[in-house]
């Protein structure tokens, strides 16, 4: 089920501040964040983010197509190493 329109998109205020600050200071450093649940708003387009995936920060360059998604959708939290142990002859690593 979608979120109530009355509330508007969930955007972490602090992050908006950070984006505005990096805009005015011309800082190209990726914005480090843990706010995976934050919706990507048009202000974020063209900015670099470093999104926490539970272990490290994954870099993301935000494009126009990503607006409306959440930051966390672009930082996978699971690593799949493939199936197959001793029985299988190869195993993908």
């Amino acid at each position: 089920m979608g979120r109530s329109l009355k509330k508007g998109p969930y955007v972490v205020e602090r992050l908006l501040d950070k984006v505005a600050r990096s805009e005015s200071s011309g800082n190209r450093e990726p914005i480090k964040t843990w706010a995976r649940a934050c919706t990507i708003v048009p202000e974020f387009v063209g900015k670099n983010f470093a999104i926490h995936n539970g272990r490290t920060f994954l870099k993301l360059y935000v494009t126009e197509d990503m607006v409306g998604h959440k930051l966390g959708e672009f930082a996978p939290t699971r690593t799949f190493k493939g199936h197959g142990g001793k029985g299988g002859k190869s195993g993908k690593r």
């Binding site: 494009t63 990503m66 998604h69 029985g87 299988g88």
Partner: protein, 129 residues
Amino acid sequence: MPRILGVDIPNDKRTIISLQYLYGIGPYKAELLCERTGIDRDKRARELSEDELAKLATILDNDDDFTVEGQLRRQIQQNIARLRDIGCYRGLRHRKGLPVRGQRTRTNARTRKGPRKTVAGKKGVKELR
């Protein structure tokens, strides 16, 4: 048999039913179409006049609320392609051919995964045979 939009030829059922043979038309849109064109929904499809068919065709062609057939399929493919391109979680699931909406994959999910690929030596394989 009447033809609407080229290929599709719904048969001699009630209009409201036969319209649903078009990809992108379900019960709701069929009802709407009948209302908009003023066609009796219980009239058999074969009894539709040229005039009525033309009316249906213009609405299906021009109205954005009624995207059907090839155009609808294309639209869906484009939406999926977009998800793949931006590299979001849903896109990744589409790429891997796994369920996209958080369903379990330990069992089931055969629609997305396709036929079972039995792994030799895996526990429980003997019992399955």
